[in-house]
């Protein structure tokens, strides 16, 4: 019944992205000395962890055939709420973090309600919320970057040693989150329902899934994950930054799609998203190490995004 492991690996939708990632690593490894070092890999993971975590929430939403343009802005707002409450508001750090997470989850909840109750397209809801969250961030922060954070808020930026390499707790948390969501989506009833919903909401409804409640739940959970991304961002940069996250919506979507998830919903895997995020991070890091000027990096990134997905597509066509 079960196919053999190698066969399953090839037929899994993550195979293409994984191959692209490995090829990129190989190329940069051959062309620069510093690429294949533990420190550099640790760095890449640190650099993708914020967008990667945002992309977890984005994956959930895209699996339901939605899209989230507001995630970067929600994260930025969550980060400001956490830091401002802790620093200016005098709240205990733990409470401030909780408040930030709650605000992000709240944004997700509102998105979910608008999508389900008024049947608004997710694109429009989150486009509107992008502006709302952006504006609230700037109004609430008064355009001020918030510094001098209590240690709890930057704890995830601390490192521990693995062999020779320093790894941040944040990187670890990100990886754990990916594994958690891979489990939830792949091995629980909830995950099945998310796929069914994205596949065909009417079928899902007729088979007795409470599709509205599920959708609202997905958006809220995604919002909560953006809250975690906010905490990761804060601990990575050590400040509350009202300018953060402005291109992270497209970046997170890129990671999701590079990871092989269909924008039409119902097909994809969250571990693919991790790979997608790493592809972007590896390219940025590798090109920088090779000393490619940034405008050419943009050019190459553009071409490679297309190439990576094209290779994936063509290889699938062949095995069909």
């Amino acid at each position: 019944m079960e196919a053999s492991l190698p066969r399953r690996l090839i037929s899994t939708p993550v195979a293409g992205p994984l191959a692209a990632l490995l090829l990129a690593c190989l190329y940069f490894g051959l062309n620069t000395e510093q690429f294949f070092t533990g420190t550099n890999f640790s760095l890449i993971i640190q650099q993708v962890m914020v967008v990667g975590t945002l992309a977890i929430g984005q994956t959930l939403i895209i699996l339901t055939a939605g899209i989230d343009l507001a995630n970067g802005a929600i994260m930025a707002f969550g980060g400001i709420v956490m830091t401002k409450l802790a620093v200016d508001g005098g709240l205990p750090a733990l409470l401030a973090v909780a408040a930030g997470l709650a605000v992000c989850a709240g944004f997700g909840l509102v998105n979910g309600l608008l999508v389900t109750r008024i049947s608004l397209p997710p694109f429009i809801v989150t486009l509107g919320m992008l502006n709302v969250a952006f504006a609230l961030t700037h109004i609430y922060s008064g355009e001020q970057t918030i510094t001098d954070l209590p240690p709890l808020l930057t704890f995830l930026g601390q490192t521990f040693q693995v062999g020779q390499t320093n790894v941040t707790y944040g990187s670890l948390l990100t990886i754990l989150l990916f594994l958690l969501f891979a489990y939830l989506l792949g091995s629980t009833a909830w995950g099945r329902h998310v796929y069914a919903l994205g596949n065909n909401p009417e079928v899902a409804r007729l088979t007795g899934i409470r599709t509205r409640r599920l959708t609202v739940g997905v958006y809220t959970l995604a919002g909560f994950v953006y809250g975690i991304a906010a905490l990761l961002l804060v601990s990575r940069t050590g400040v509350g930054d009202p300018q953060a996250g402005q291109t992270d919506n497209l970046d997170s979507i890129t990671a999701v799609v590079l990871g092989g998830t269909s924008l039409f919903g119902g097909r994809g895997m969250v571990l693919g998203t991790l790979i997608g995020a790493l592809i972007v991070g590896v390219f940025r890091n590798g090109l920088q190490l090779m000393g490619v000027p940034s405008i050419y990096q943009t050019l190459i990134t553009g071409i490679l995004v297309i190439l990576a997905v094209a290779v994936d597509q063509l290889s699938r066509r062949r095995t069909r």
Partner: protein
């Protein structure tokens, strides 16, 4: 007289200017196979959607075992043991057969894995699905292939197997054999008999008169959004039933009354 298991009174459903249901009644007796027949657009699908929570009627009431119920969504109907094979939207295309079979009622692993970590018992679901599919004798290469790669008939088979597997109270099937081959249709009819024999009543919508006459205990004839007759197949010929369906003759108190003489002649009655 025994009490109907599932009943509807005066169901109305309008889509804009189109009246799909126009005061439809419905009665399903315990342990019977009730066929629902009618022209295209007569409101058969709308009727059973209302009966299974998939559609909210504008007015009218639904009674289960004589008690009025409100079915807000298909899950409510399911909880009352009503299982349905819908006409179009039966299965989630990109998911595999086993997943489709267990959608909405997944099995969890025994012990802590299932209770705390809510882990699915994929193996058991696959095995049980295989069992159910085997009962229908639909040949399948693998239960892990996505439903979209099946032929139309195979897909329909999955939906039927699912409904039969889960129903405890009523099974409703909206043209379950429409896409099926002769052999597979025969198996579905067998299955319907089995379900009835275990005491569960079945509602079968079908355009296939031979099937209807072969299997139905009673026939509900739907026309223009209403039930125009309830008959027992043995009492009427196939031609007569078709005539009622198309409005050529009318029934009052169980007796046929010729209404449209020309039409009745045209189909060979008189």
């Amino acid at each position: 007289m025994t009490e109907p298991v599932l009943q509807a009174r005066g169901l109305v459903k309008k889509y804009g200017h189109v009246t799909a249901l126009d005061g439809a009644d419905f009665d399903l007796m315990p342990g019977e196979v009730l066929a629902v027949i009618g022209d295209n657009g007569a409101g058969k699908t709308s009727l059973i959607k209302a009966l299974t929570g998939a559609l909210q009627p504008d007015s009218g009431e639904i009674l289960l075992d004589g008690r009025p119920v409100r079915l807000r969504d298909p899950l409510d109907a399911r909880r009352h043991g009503i299982e349905t094979v819908y006409q179009d939207l039966a299965v989630a295309a990109s998911l595999d057969i086993a997943t489709n079979m267990f959608l909405g009622r997944e099995l969890r692993k025994p012990g802590i894995l299932g209770r705390v970590f809510r882990m699915l018992d994929k193996k058991r679901m696959r095995e049980e699905s295989a069992k159910h599919m085997a009962e229908l004798k639909i040949g399948l290469r693998s239960l892990t292939q996505p439903v979209e790669s099946l032929s139309g008939g195979q897909r329909q088979g999955v939906a039927v197997a699912r409904a039969v597997a889960w129903a405890t109270n009523v099974v409703v099937m909206d043209e379950p054999t429409a896409a099926l081959g002769v052999k597979e249709s025969g198996q579905v009819l067998d299955l319907i008999r089995q379900v009835r024999d275990r005491g569960t009543p079945v509602v079968l919508i079908s355009h296939n008169m031979p099937h209807v006459f072969e299997i139905a205990d009673r026939v509900h004839i739907q026309r223009l959004g209403r039930r125009v007759a309830e008959i027992v197949p043995g009492d009427h010929s196939m031609a007569e039933v078709v005539a009622i369906m198309t409005g050529a003759i009318q029934v009052s108190d169980g007796k046929s009354v010729v209404k449209d003489k020309d039409a009745a002649e045209a189909i060979g009655l008189s």
